[in-house]
């Protein structure tokens, strides 16, 4: 592991960085590096052969300092503009999952010139009538003592999937893993607990500003961000190359099906 603390506008940001190639900024979701695992997932490792993957932890996640000024998606976007400057990235590939996908889309509509290619994986961020984003906070409350069946059902295709149980075990898991899960919920509660629930009603009509070729990847059985959100992204971003639906996978498609998801992303980024 090659983690380090980056000083960004007087705050410390925890960053993992690995691989060779053009810079790729990865913004994490709930079942992910920084929000559960300390280290890279197989999904990321497969990108190392052709990209320099940089994964910052969101404010208050992992060892990134908590930022009490974060109260809206706008604050998070500005935080990441500072991160991008601190990393001296002029142009980069941007990949985001779930909440990270939302942040990625918001960065891309504001600074389309900075993004070489964009990949959204089960990205939150849109308001689609009749297809609300699931309440991850309610599901994160323990059931029947201390089981997290509801949370796993939301974030994966099935609650009893080994990967789901590994990432969100019943009872009390390793304290450091539990702490990362908690920090991610705390960070994301700042931008999605109250309305708008992980969406920005203005985002859809801004998506046309994105110049980068865009890949939209979704799990067929996403129980948190419905597939129609992915279809809306794919329809509204001018250079979106349709939507890649991964069969029998849920919201955390990068965890459930890295063998499929990772090559789709790397092929897209390398024009294979």
């Amino acid at each position: 592991m090659s983690g380090r603390l980056l000083e960004v506008n007087q705050r410390k940001v925890w960053i993992l960085e690995d691989g060779n190639g053009p810079p790729l900024l990865y913004l994490h979701g709930f079942a992910d590096v920084h929000s559960v695992k300390e280290n890279w997932l197989p999904f990321h490792e497969r990108l190392f052969s052709h990209a320099r993957v940089i994964a910052p932890a969101h404010p208050g996640c992992a060892q990134t300092e908590e930022n009490w000024d974060v109260g809206s998606i706008e604050d998070v976007v500005f935080h990441y503009l500072e991160v991008v400057d601190a990393l001296a990235l002029k142009e980069f590939d941007l990949v985001g999952a779930c909440v990270g996908g939302w942040i990625a889309a918001e960065i891309a509509v504001r600074h389309p010139e900075k993004i070489r290619k964009l990949a959204l994986v089960g990205a939150a961020g849109l308001f689609v009538e009749g297809a609300p984003i699931g309440d991850v906070f309610m599901m994160a409350q323990p059931e029947r003592g201390a089981t997290y069946v509801g949370l796993r059902s939301m974030l994966f295709s099935h609650a009893d999937l080994p990967k789901a149980v590994e990432f969100f075990p019943d009872g009390r898991g390793e304290i450091e893993d539990e702490l990362r899960r908690y920090q991610m919920l705390r960070f994301s509660s700042r931008i999605g607990f109250q309305p708008p629930y992980f969406y920005n009603r203005s985002l859809k009509n801004r998506l046309h500003r994105i110049l980068a070729p865009t890949l939209v990847v979704w799990g067929e059985d996403d129980h948190m961000v419905p597939l129609s959100h992915g279809e809306t992204y794919a329809r509204s971003i001018p250079k979106a190359q349709g939507i890649k639906i991964i069969k029998q996978a849920g919201h955390s498609v990068h965890v459930e099906a890295p063998d499929l998801a990772s090559p789709i992303v790397s092929d897209f980024l390398t024009d294979r």
Binding site: G60, E66, W68, G71, V136, F137, M138, M139, A140, Q141, P142, E143, R144, G145, A146, G150, D170, G171, R172, I175, E178, L179, R181, Y182, Q183, L185, R186, S189, R190, F193, Q194, P195
Partner: protein
């Protein structure tokens, strides 16, 4: 103020008594006159000589039907003449503008001729979900609101408040409270050190919201006393309150027979979603992440997943051991509560007499027995005890501030 008309199979059929409990279960036929009955019970208790009536705010649940305790308090100002009216408390982060609470409390203080005890609380997990209160900022928001209200009551307006959450150009409440400099302020908490510190800093009273008593209650009192000392203050029993339920009848056996159905209704139905591991636990958990990460790490170290909560007690003996619902003859109830007072050194006992679906006539009978046969001895003995241990208590006796 529970909803007492749930069917016997409620616990089997429903996941929670809070937030998502279907309101189609409300039966207007049965519930006709329910609020009147509850108000009558409180007025009855006032007539029996209790020091005050305590009301609290909860939303979308069967445990407490008071989304607005201030409405019930308003009714009590017209039905009672002597006892305090304690609202514990208005849930400040749920309201758009805390000045509304400052205004309503000031009205209640005027309407009751200065009998208001003003409680404020940030709201727990269920309210967080009901009202979309983001947990991470709710404490900070809460204390800003409390300080704004205190300032509005004690400083002349109009003034501008340059707050982070509630910036206001014209703070100028009409009316102000009758009590000067301001009504007593009570803050409930569940032993979080940061709440105790904030309470101590401001000279408020602390009310422990835990329903079980024993070593933990004693520890809470010790901790509060230490924190008060660190702030140049000293512990007084009048600054500390605890919560319990009680049922009194002629004998221990009769008491248990009369209240047992109500007690189980309360434990299994009203506490489901709040203080039970069955169903979904809404009160505390990572989905309402209101404590900062370092404090969560400390919490995790002592966390025993699936440990039984009050509503999970398997039998009457376990319930007895929790010292949460005190049931028995006047002698038994006196003896057991006295032990809690001795251990906790709490000067304010908040006692719930209506338990679950306990019938109204039994509630009144128990309340009256308590007032006549338990309260006098508790008052006398605690005064003697407190005078011996706390210098200021004697002065408070003259002022009539102790129970």
């Amino acid at each position: 103020m529970a909803y007492p008309y749930l069917a016997k199979d409620f616990d089997e059929k429903y996941d929670s008594g809070w937030v998502t409990v279907p309101n189609s279960l409300w039966d207007n036929e049965q519930a006709k006159g329910l609020y009147q009955e509850y108000i009558d019970q409180l007025a009855y208790a006032d007539g029996l000589g209790f020091d005050g009536s305590v009301l609290n705010e909860h939303h979308q649940n069967i445990y407490g039907l008071m989304p607005s305790p201030n409405l019930i308090a308003a009714a009590l100002t017209q039905r009672t003449t002597r006892g305090k009216i304690v609202i514990l408390g208005n849930l400040l982060p749920l309201h758009l503008n805390p000045m509304r609470m400052a205004e309503e409390y000031a009205m209640l203080d005027q309407m009751s001729n200065g009998r208001l005890i003003a409680g404020f609380a940030p709201g727990g997990g269920p309210e967080t979900f009901n009202y979309d209160v983001p947990s991470a900022t709710s404490r900070e928001k809460f204390w800003e609101a409390v300080d704004l209200i205190v300032r509005a009551w004690t400083e002349d307006g109009p003034f501008a408040h340059e707050g982070r959450y509630y910036p206001l150009r014209y703070v100028n409440p009409w009316p102000k409270p009758l009590q000067k400099p301001l009504p007593p302020i009570w803050i409930p908490g569940s032993r979080s050190a940061s709440t105790l510190v904030e309470v101590a800093k401001r000279g408020f009273s602390y009310f422990l919201s835990s329903r079980s008593h024993g070593g933990e209650t004693h520890k809470a009192q010790q901790q509060f006393a230490e924190i008060l000392a660190q702030h140049g203050d000293s512990y007084q029993p009048s600054r500390f309150g605890i919560l319990m339920s009680a049922y009194v009848s002629d004998s221990d056996r009769q008491a248990r027979e009369e209240c047992e159905e109500g007690v189980w209704y309360f434990l299994k139905n009203c506490l489901k979603g709040h203080l039970r591991r069955e169903g979904r636990q809404l009160t505390f958990g990572p989905g309402v992440p209101y404590i900062p990460a370092p404090a969560w790490r400390e919490y995790l170290k002592g966390y025993k997943p699936g440990r039984p909560l009050l509503g999970d007690v398997a039998n009457w003996e376990e319930l007895d051991a929790s010292q949460s619902i005190i049931v028995g003859s006047p002698e038994t109830v006196y003896r057991r509560i006295w032990k809690i007072v001795e251990q906790s050194k709490a000067g304010n006992l908040l006692i719930q007499f209506h338990i679950g679906n306990l019938p109204a006539e039994l509630t009144r009978k128990s309340t009256a027995l308590f007032a006549r046969k338990v309260a006098p001895a508790l008052r006398d003995d605690s005064l003697r005890f407190f005078e011996k241990h706390f210098a200021v208590a004697a002065k408070e006796r003259e002022a009539g501030a102790l129970p």
